[in-house]
Amino acid sequence: MQDLGKDIAVLGWLVNRLVHCPLRCVFRQKRFYTWELWRHMASVGAGSLGIVSVIAACTGMILALQAAQQLEKVGALSFVANLVGVVIIAELGPLLTAIILAGRSGAAFTAEIATMRISEEIDALYVMGVEPVQYLVFPKMASMAVMLPVLTLWADFVGVFSGGAFSVFFLGLDARAYFEQSASFLQTSDLLAGLVKSLGFGITITLISCWQGFLAREGATDVGVRTTRAVVQSIFLIILLDLFFTALNYLFR
């Protein structure tokens, strides 16, 4: 219980420092570490592009197949486009992308900070006059806040496109009709809701991952334990947030 109190105190400290980071940059009290931002953007964005594309493509095809099985029974095969589009853009695009990034980039964030804590690199930052949250967390947060929505947009495109291509080549649907139906059925608000969600997911993943990294005490085992916790807690919170966002979207539709 005492440990939980300490852990929550560390989270409070992290949030407090993080909130001040943009202000410190604006008032030039601290620098913005641009090279760290580019490094994380490349790792989070370009580094995840392959796996996000493959998973989005597979999801689009799986959805098309599942939808076709059910809709064929009621003679509404053409509605595959509606179902694939809305499920990918409103739900699975943001959700799956966030889960992939929690496992890939979130875990990397935790392992990096935890290892730095154990090898005294965080102490070295303090001694050099570098604020660790400003240097380590803020660029990660900024890169995740930009790259997760961008990757979500890409996953939406790949998912819808692969679902369409699959429906055209294997289910015999007309390509033009499929994509016209998708475009007319989907609304901009669906896309925006997905992007807002993904921004929330990105902030959550970074916060949880960096928090767990700062909680590491000693030894390689703790790095592993903290990384596992970061991924599990991130995914758990992503699902809860998804439920929250979806409920809000439903209430204010």
Partner: protein, 260 residues
């Protein structure tokens, strides 16, 4: 950068450090002389590194105070500590170089944080400091491409980059072969001779101690067991100090599973 400051003494008064429910050092009184090399000696877990962290202001003491010259570290605000740290250089146990930056970028970091120097000037200073530790050709290398000894020398170059008046070294010879350890000792001696800074070295390496120390502090059981010159340490009649210097194992350890 500001001109070189006189090397201050470090005065530790009635210092008690530890964590809630666990006291590591109690009522420690010490004066580490300015401009000299002081070595803090003691067994594993005796509080040497903890004392160093308190001198750096990374931890706050439970009681007592630490003074750097006439300034009290233990009551300073974070901003005051931030400003003061530009006068202190630290060599951490494994160098603590930032893994995502090259050697040159690591050494340049304190300059970028504490000064408004132009990039060309920073590059020149970095080259000079890396040259000081014999690593100038490796400026573009990443820390994981260097050996343990090179990482420590690079850590020393980074610690020296702001021309500090106080240099703190945490177990500089730990994990190094005797030749590299001796080279690092020589480097510390040269730095002290050339720049006249206050150097505090935490170690349990006796060879290193008798090579570099002008002043020795022995910590044991949460207290200062000895403070004085290295000659006096050798002549001490204290049982623990003699056991430490002659490397005699504890009797209870001889009764373990391994028979000698």
């Amino acid at each position: 950068m500001s001109p070189r400051r006189p090397a201050p003494e470090i005065r530790i008064q009635d210092l008690t450090v530890g964590y809630p429910g666990r006291v590591i050092l109690e009522g420690v009184n010490l004066v580490l002389p300015g401009g000299r090399i002081s070595v803090i000696l003691g067994g594993s877990g005796c509080g040497k590194s903890t004392l160093l962290r308190h001198i750096l202001g990374l931890n706050r003491p439970l009681a007592g105070s630490i003074l750097l010259g006439d300034r009290t570290l233990s009551t300073m605000s974070d901003q005051e500590l931030h400003d003061l740290r530009s006068e202190m250089g630290v060599l951490f146990q494994d160098g603590a170089l930032l893994g995502s930056l090259t050697l040159g970028e690591n050494v340049a970091m304190p300059l970028r944080e504490h000064t408004t120097l132009e990039e060309s000037t920073i590059e020149t200073i970095v080259r000079l400091k890396l040259n000081l530790v014999g690593l100038e050709p490796f400026a573009g290398y990443m820390p994981n491409e260097l050996s343990g000894g090179m990482r420590k020398r690079a850590g020393l170059a980074r610690a020296m980059v702001l021309d500090p008046s106080v240099l703190l070294c945490d177990e500089p010879s730990a994990g190094l072969d005797p030749i590299t350890a001796a080279s690092l000792d020589q480097l510390i001696l040269d730095l002290n001779e050339t720049f006249g800074m206050t150097i505090v070295v935490v170690t349990h390496d006796l060879d290193s101690l008798f090579t570099i120390a002008e002043f020795v502090v022995v910590l044991h059981g949460g207290h200062v067991l000895y403070q004085g010159g290295p000659k006096g340490l050798k002549e001490s009649e204290d049982q623990y100090i003699q056991q430490f210097l002659k490397r005699i194992p504890n009797q209870r350890d001889l009764n373990g599973p391994l028979k000698f």
